[in-house]
C-alpha cells in the first residue's frame, strides 16, 4: 500500500483538518462527531442542506460544502456510512429554522443511519427530510436487491438543490426538486484497478492486467461483471449505452415520511432518455485516473450523445466522486430543463466546485 498517510485510523480526521485549514474562509471542521460545515453557518433565511457518506470518495461530500451547495457534510470512516450522531449534530448546527434537506445515497448503511438520525431529530423543533439518490444502472435486478445505488447524480442534486436553497426555495420545494433531479439522472461505472482501504492495507479485489470490472459501485466493491479490458471508445460506448438505452425504471423507492419518521416505499419511475432531451453530462474519475484520460472519454460521450439526439448543455469532467486511488470512471447523464440548468449555473463556492464567485 503506497499512500500519503500516517496512521490509517487518523486518515479521515487528518484529511478533514487539512481541508479546514486550506479553505478556512469557506469551511470549518467539527470533531467528535466529525463533520465539515460552512464557515458562515447557520445561514439565515435559507433551508440548510446536508449530505454525508463514507470517506474515500473525496472531494464528495466534504469538497462540496460552501455557498451555493452544502451547509454540512458528514464523512464516515473510509467506505463506511456516517453514524447518526454525526448527522444529528451537523443538522442542529447548520439549520436556521427553515428546515434541513438531507441528501442520501441509496446504500443500506446510509439509508439506515440517516433514518436513525431522522428519528432522533423528530424531537427537535425544525423539520428534517431525507431524500434518496438511486441512479446507478450498474445494479441489475433492482427489485430483489437494495435497488440502485446513488452515484454521479448526487453531485448534480447537491449543486442544484444548493443553488435553489440559496435562491429561496422552501423545504417542500427543495424536496420535490431533489426527487425530480434523482429521477432525471442515470450513471454507470467501470474500474480498471482495485483500491486499498488504508486500515486493511490490501487491495479489495484483484484484477488481471487485461480485465476490468463493469457496473462497479464507489466503495471498491466489485461490479456485476468482469470483462476483458477495452479501449476508451468501447468503454465509453458500453457505459453510455447502459445509460441511454435504460428503459423506464419503475421501482419502490423509500421516501421519507415526516409524520412517522421513517421511510415509506413509493412507486416512482425514471423515464428513459429520448432524442431531443437536453442533458448535463458528467465524466467522473475514480481517483487514480488522470484528467487527460477522462477527456478522451468525454470526447466519445459527446459523439454518442449527438448520435442519440441528446444535447449536452453543460458538462463536468474530473475526479469528483472517487474510490480512493482506483482507476476507472463513471458516466452520468441528467435530463435537464431551464430550471435545472439555471440552478446548475448559479454561483457556487466550495473547496472543489467553484464558479461565479
Amino acid at each position: 500500500m503506497k499512500k500519503l498517510l500516517n496512521k490509517p485510523e487518523d486518515f479521515v480526521r487528518e484529511s478533514l483538518e487539512g481541508v479546514a485549514l486550506a479553505h478556512s474562509d469557506t469551511v470549518k471542521a467539527h470533531f467528535e462527531p466529525n463533520f465539515l460545515y460552512r464557515a458562515d453557518a447557520p445561514v439565515s433565511s435559507k433551508v440548510a442542506i446536508i449530505s454525508g457518506g463514507g470517506s474515500g470518495h473525496e472531494p464528495m461530500h466534504i469538497g462540496f460544502v460552501g455557498k451555493g451547495m452544502l451547509d454540512a457534510a458528514c464523512p464516515g470512516e473510509v467506505f463506511t456510512s456516517p453514524t447518526p450522531d454525526q448527522i444529528l449534530e451537523a443538522a442542529k448546527l447548520v439549520h436556521r429554522g427553515k428546515g434541513v434537506l438531507s441528501i442520501v445515497k441509496n446504500y443500506s448503511g446510509d439509508v439506515m443511519n440517516f433514518q436513525m438520525a431522522g428519528e432522533l431529530l423528530s424531537s427537535e423543533e425544525f423539520r428534517f427530510i431525507n431524500v434518496l439518490i438511486d441512479d446507478d444502472v450498474g445494479v441489475k435486478g433492482g427489485l430483489s436487491t437494495q435497488g440502485r445505488r446513488g452515484v454521479g447524480t448526487t453531485v448534480f442534486a447537491e449543486k442544484i438543490c444548493g443553488a435553489a436553497a440559496e435562491d429561496g426555495y422552501s423545504l417542500d420545494d427543495l424536496v420535490t426538486l431533489c426527487r425530480r433531479v434523482n429521477l432525471s439522472g442515470r450513471s454507470m461505472g467501470v474500474a480498471l484497478s482495485s483500491c486499498t482501504v488504508p486500515a486493511s492495507g490490501v487491495p479489495t479485489f484483484e484484477l488481471g492486467d487485461s480485465e476490468m470490472e463493469v457496473g462497479i459501485g464507489i466503495h471498491g466493491e466489485q461490479g456485476r461483471e468482469r470483462m476483458p479490458m477495452m479501449n476508451a471508445d468501447s468503454i465509453t460506448e458500453l457505459l453510455s449505452l447502459s445509460i441511454t438505452e435504460d428503459p423506464a425504471y419503475k421501482r419502490s423507492l423509500p421516501e421519507w415520511d415526516e409524520g412517522t419518521c421513517t421511510w415509506i416505499d413509493r412507486k416512482v419511475t425514471s423515464q428513459p432518455f429520448k432524442p431531443g432531451d437536453r442533458v448535463l453530462a458528467f465524466v467522473n474519475g475514480m481517483g487514480g485516473t488522470p484528467l487527460a484520460e477522462l477527456y478522451v472519454v468525454y470526447r466519445k460521450l459527446f459523439e454518442i450523445c449527438r448520435e442519440k439526439g441528446l444535447e449536452i448543455v453543460r458538462s463536468l469532467v474530473g475526479n469528483y466522486i472517487t474510490s480512493l486511488e482506483m482507476q476507472g470512471c463513471f458516466i452520468t447523464l441528467l435530463k435537464t430543463d431551464d430550471e435545472l440548468t439555471r440552478l446548475w449555473d448559479l454561483p457556487v463556492k466550495t473547496p472543489s466546485l467553484r464558479w461565479g464567485i
Binding site: E77, S81, P82, T83, D85, M112, K140, F205
Partner: protein, 207 residues
C-alpha cells in the same frame, strides 16, 4: 443464571474476538462488499470495551443499551446500525436486571432479532447476519423446551448460528452491499453473519 459480571466478561471477550478476527472479517467483506467490516467492528467493540469500567455499576439493560449506542456511533455503515440495534433492543428487555435467567436470555435474543429485522428488513435467506441470528434464537428456545439449561441452550444456539453462517455461502445476497453482486455473491460467506456467530460464541464462552 447469567450474572452482570458474565455480561461484562462477554463484551470484553467479544472485543478481543473482533480484534483477532479483524482481518478475516475484512477479507470476507472484501469478497462481497467494501472490505472494511472487520476494521469497523473491531473499532466499535474496542470502544465498547474501554467504556465498560464506567458502566460497571449499572444494570444489565443499561450496559447492553450503552453498548448498542456506542456501536451505533463508532462503527458506521450497515454493520453499525444492525449490531447497534441488536444490543439496544436486547438492552430494552433486560432493563433494571442484575442477572438473567434462561427466559431472559431468550427474550433478549428475540428482541435483538426482531429489532434487526424491523430496522433492516432482511428475511432469513437474504444472506445477512439474520441468517445466523434467527436459527440461533430458534435453537435456544427449542433447547430450553427440551429441558436444557442456559449454558447448554447457548451451546445449541451457537451451533445453529455457525450452521446458518456457513450456509450463507450458498445464498444469493438480497440485502446489503453484497446484493449488488447478484449471482456473484454465491460462494462467499456473509461477513455480518460471521460477526454475529463470533459474538454469540463469546457469550457462550463467557458463561
Amino acid at each position: 443464571m447469567v450474572t452482570k459480571e458474565q455480561i461484562i466478561k462477554w463484551l470484553k471477550l467479544a472485543a478481543n474476538v473482533m480484534q483477532e478476527n479483524k482481518e478475516w472479517l475484512t477479507q470476507l467483506d472484501a469478497a462481497v462488499g467494501d472490505g472494511e467490516h472487520g476494521i469497523n467492528m473491531a473499532r466499535g467493540f474496542q470502544k465498547v470495551s474501554s467504556h465498560l469500567p464506567s458502566v460497571a455499576d449499572e444494570d444489565i439493560g443499561s450496559i447492553l443499551k450503552s453498548t448498542g449506542a456506542i456501536l451505533l456511533s463508532a462503527i458506521g455503515g450497515a454493520g453499525g446500525v444492525i449490531f447497534g440495534t441488536f444490543f439496544i433492543e436486547a438492552g430494552k428487555v433486560t432493563s433494571g436486571r442484575q442477572e438473567l435467567g434462561s427466559v431472559d436470555i431468550a427474550a433478549f435474543l428475540k428482541a435483538g432479532l426482531s429489532g434487526v429485522i424491523k430496522r433492516g428488513g432482511a428475511q432469513v435467506g437474504d444472506k445477512t447476519m439474520v441468517d445466523a441470528l434467527a436459527p440461533a434464537v430458534t435453537a435456544f428456545d427449542r433447547s430450553l423446551e427440551d429441558g436444557a439449561d442456559t449454558t447448554e441452550a447457548l451451546g445449541q444456539a451457537v451451533a445453529a448460528a455457525q450452521v446458518g453462517m456457513t450456509e450463507t455461502t450458498h445464498l444469493v445476497a438480497k440485502k446489503g452491499r453484497a446484493s449488488y453482486l447478484g449471482e456473484r455473491s454465491i460462494g462467499h460467506q456473509d461477513p455480518g453473519a460471521t460477526s454475529l456467530y463470533l459474538i454469540l460464541k463469546a457469550l457462550y464462552d463467557a458463561v
